[in-house]
């Protein structure tokens, strides 16, 4: 999915919500456990209930891998189901991959060739040749970690280099030689608040994938105030705050309600543009 198609969806549906499918078998409603594939059953119900309120889904690979082969089958079925039933939703595999060139090329083939998702999160530590193999697929996106939502983001990402640039700024600047705002986004945590001002100085037009609203405590208003571009430029993710909002048989309706609330806030923000 290209940028034009993504922004069309955002303005048509008045939302830039991404629902994170961090599906943990130990947290899903007990009545689903009798199902052949409880993880897929849960995801399908969440997707069907939240699709009107979001433009993207982000399955987090860790949660599927941890269930072994069965988990990866649930991942594959989930991606297949979204693509078939909601073909205008953007699918992000949150896998934070990145390795030497020939290995990154294998990962690219897996996620873009086999699973055929729209985007993959990638870690920048290993530099150019670990990222560029992902940029050779038409209509696919690299979402590079820049400034993450966790406490550990202060360990290295915020540290200034001798030239004054902090590591995350150097990642933003250097990576713009590898790709552009049509095939590369950045992860910037909602918990970083006013740091979005600094991000936009270095990456004024790129889409940002913003985790950390909800369970992690980030503010949607602040993210929008400092991070929004003329064509929105944001995909704001909520995982636990939506998918585990309810735990009974009506979990999907409760998730839809939470997604609708965020959609309404986003509609207000989009109206300011």
């Amino acid at each position: 999915m290209n940028r034009k198609e993504l922004t069309e969806q955002i303005f048509k549906k008045k939302t830039f919500l991404c629902v994170g499918l961090d599906t943990d078998i130990s947290k899903i409603p007990s009545h689903l456990l009798a199902d052949d594939d409880p993880i897929f059953a849960f995801n399908k119900a969440i997707v069907d209930a939240t699709a009107p309120y979001c433009v993207a889904y982000k399955p987090n690979l860790a949660f599927y891998e941890s269930a072994g082969l069965k988990g990866m089958a649930s991942f594959e079925k989930t991606v297949g189901y979204i693509k078939e039933s909601y073909p205008h939703h953007f699918i992000i595999a949150d896998a934070k991959r990145g390795d030497i060139g020939n290995t990154s090329a294998m990962y690219a083939r897996t996620f873009f060739g086999e699973y055929d998702v729209d985007a993959l999160t990638v870690a920048p530590y290993m530099g150019e040749d670990s990222v560029t193999p992902f940029l050779t697929y038409e209509g696919k996106w690299v979402i590079l970690l820049a400034l993450t939502s966790n406490k550990g983001s202060h360990d290295f990402q915020m540290t200034p280099f001798a030239n004054g640039e902090r590591l995350f700024e150097s990642v933003l600047k250097t990576s713009q030689k590898w790709g552009d705002d049509q095939n590369m986004m950045y992860v910037v945590g909602a918990t970083q608040g006013r740091m979005f001002e600094d991000i936009r100085k270095v990456a004024p037009t790129h889409f940002l994938l913003v985790p950390g609203v909800g369970a992690q405590g980030g503010s949607l208003q602040e993210v929008c105030k400092y991070g929004m571009t003329k064509d929105c430029g944001l995909l704001v993710n909520s995982s636990r705050g939506i998918i585990y909002a309810g735990s009974g048989e009506d979990f999907a309706a409760t998730a839809a309600e939470k997604a609708r609330e965020l959609q309404a806030e986003m509609e207000t923000e989009l109206a300011r543009l």
Copy 2:
């Protein structure tokens, strides 16, 4: 496997070779393709042939994931086979994972709880809480990326911070507050040559996992000269240079020959201690 057990194996077998199982279905000998699980058949033959000459195996997850569920089944079978048939070999899952705390905890459960490998490569970009969940498993190791073997290592890892430390040095120093030389190793590429001197100033006693000998052009002698500790402190990996050395029906014997050559060089280096 703890450090004492690992070094005992190294000195008993006079080798610190790690064989990288970067098994690519498009590169394995054609006569194996008729097998039910060609990737496992290839790995089994390579492991049986090279086991006397190495102390560790390192399957690279990208190569298994790219073959989908079937590939992950081959990975699982390979790990199971090594554990059963060669229980004194150290198994490294080369997956370069790392995410916010709750997600890293899931990855840790997958690799240490389910697959039960000895070590996992981890990317440091997201800082402390992305790494520490992997350090809570007794007898298991984090192998943190420090200075990688690829060209892209120059993009960020070599850049000096304002305090004079380069990023890789900051990773080495900071991460020593999270774990110690009994549960943490570092990835340092053999292509970095004399940089091992600088590495040893900051991490004098940690084991280093050293890729990049062979196909990538690193020198074993240089690595040993500048990187060896009193108890060896090195696991030197070769993947393509061993496993694809031959392409005929005698591929395993050819791989064994290459592994034996490296073992002989390593025996010479160990004799200097």
